[in-house]
Amino acid sequence: MPRPIEIRTSPHLKRAISVDRIMRNVVFALLPICAFAVFQFGLSALLLLLTTTGVAIATEWFFSRMSERGSTVSDWSVVITGILLGLTLPPGFPLWMAAVAAFVGVALGKAFFGGLGYNVMNPALVGRAFVQAAFPVAITTWTPAFAPGRFVELIPSTLTMPFMRPEPVADWVAGLNLDAWTGATPLALQKFQHIEVPLLDNALGLVAGSSGETASLLILACGLWLAFRRMLDWRIPLSVMAGAALTALPFWLMDGNLYPTPWFVLCSGGLMLGAWFMASDMVASPVTARGAVIYGVFIGSLTVFIRLFGGLVEGIMYAILLGNAVGPLISSWTQPRIYGVVKKTRESSQP
């Protein structure tokens, strides 16, 4: 009996790699960063991460129940959104505001566009941008890293009643009797007082800042692990970093006292986390190789321009959101020419 001949189109070789496998690996890569965030900021950071992740999962579950596409909670992508959002918020951020951010991020950033694969922008950053606009004071209230007693007591603003104004943390911080606490992050110190914190402290994350953005070297290591496992496009983070460093370089050469060093630019704020884990969002970034580089350099240099000349201290969030917005355009501009196809002229490309 002759065996039936099966005719299929390419690809003929496949790897056993799926959406939820990649997403699970990203979550694994984020776990060391979460652990360091908890080690650095204590219970408050832990509660913050649990809140954002929990609310993000609940929101995804609710909206996938309302839609007819079936549940997409189990593909782990929403867990990444929740963790990333928690990592970008200040450690003492009130939990109810974090819940608002997670809800808005998943609902407005993802569910309304049709769920995973259809979101135009990174959902975590949509949520963060919303609370940045809604609660500008709370999201720029920083607390010191490695505060004594961080594993037994919470930052007072963490457990604010819903819809209520968070307690000011200044008195609590004064009670800690810390030396050299100015209430500013390295970025703000550099921008307003032109003082750079020591490079090693900054790279290792021994400074104040958002709960999971400070440890640049750790984030770099986790990102590299993912990149070597081919779970993210290495072009995007590297071109974001290159774009940021190369944009900062001429300003630093012009006036080293006023402008930050390129390595400070790379190690401070959310640049590292943004470059490795947010700009590289598979859905919201360009699909072509050349497009990925253009997109990365655009985000990196825009970040530096916002930091140096904008009203805000940090610019990576808006830079990535803008990059996401122009991503499809970059994709369509950089479509590779198919082998054997003559380059289209302007007239012939018109339908």
């Binding site: 309304f112 606009a133 809604a134 609660f135 709370a138 819809f163 209520m164």
Partner: protein
């Protein structure tokens, strides 16, 4: 708007044409309710988006804007309906604008006299009622073809629909943005306002949320009627 407005004069009929009210006119509850819900100017036909997004940052502003627009809508509609057989077709838009602008000027001075605070809050948007699509749309599509009483009823329904839409935006934005409603604080002094809700993006967010809710309700209703009619069809 593109359709030509041939005034439905009762030429050809015997006897003098009734100006105010005609038994043959379809004056049903729908004349009033259509503008309020089924053809709500904001949520369904999406007209007048500019004041909807711009002045709904508090309930009182929304109410002031909605009632002003309703007044202009009703009175200008009435005048246009009365004059519909005398306005030449070629210059009808200009004539409507003159009529509308007259009443907008009245409202403008009235609000300035009654509450300078509200006048300052509403700013140029009072004057901009002149070019509000809802009013011109009603004039062109309804008042220029109908008798006085149906026009009054229909304009009032549309105006109240607009006011309700603005209020639904204004209350949500004021509650979240200021923790108050019509200026009365609801949550005490410790309330944390959502700054974005008073700013222009809040208008887009709240409008989108309300439209999502109403579209969802409408779809659900359509699905249910379709399902029930399907069942009866099978049973029959």
């Amino acid at each position: 708007m593109a359709e030509s407005s041939t005034p439905t004069s009762s030429a050809g009929k015997s006897g003098p044409a009734p100006i105010l009210f005609d038994r043959e006119e379809n004056l049903t509850a729908d004349t009033f309710l259509r503008g309020l819900w089924k053809e709500n100017p904001v949520f369904v036909t999406m007209l007048g988006m500019c004041p909807t997004l711009a002045v709904t940052n508090s309930a009182i502003n929304a109410l002031g804007m909605g009632l002003s627009t309703t007044f202009v809508l009703v009175v200008s509609g009435a005048l246009i309906s009365l004059l519909r057989n005398w306005i030449p077709k070629q210059v009808r838009i200009a004539s409507y604008i003159v009529i509308i602008a007259t009443f907008v000027t009245i409202v403008d001075y009235l609000i300035q006299a009654v509450s300078l605070e509200l006048y300052a809050a509403l700013g140029a948007f009072i004057q901009l009622i002149v070019v509000n699509c809802i009013i011109l749309g009603r004039a062109e599509a309804y008042a220029s073809k109908q008798r006085l009483v149906p026009t009054l009823v229909n304009s009032l329904g549309t105006g109240l629909g607009f006011t309700l839409a603005l209020l639904s935006l204004g209350t949500v934005r004021e509650i979240l943005g200021n923790g108050s409603i019509l200026g009365i604080p609801l949550f005490g002094s410790d309330f944390q306002g959502w700054l974005v809700m008073i700013l222009p993006p809040g208008g887009f967010f709240v409008l989108g949320a309300w439209m999502m809710l109403f579209n969802w309700l409408r779809l659900r209703k359509e699905r249910r009627t379709a399902a029930s009619s399907g069942v009866t069809a099978h049973a029959g």
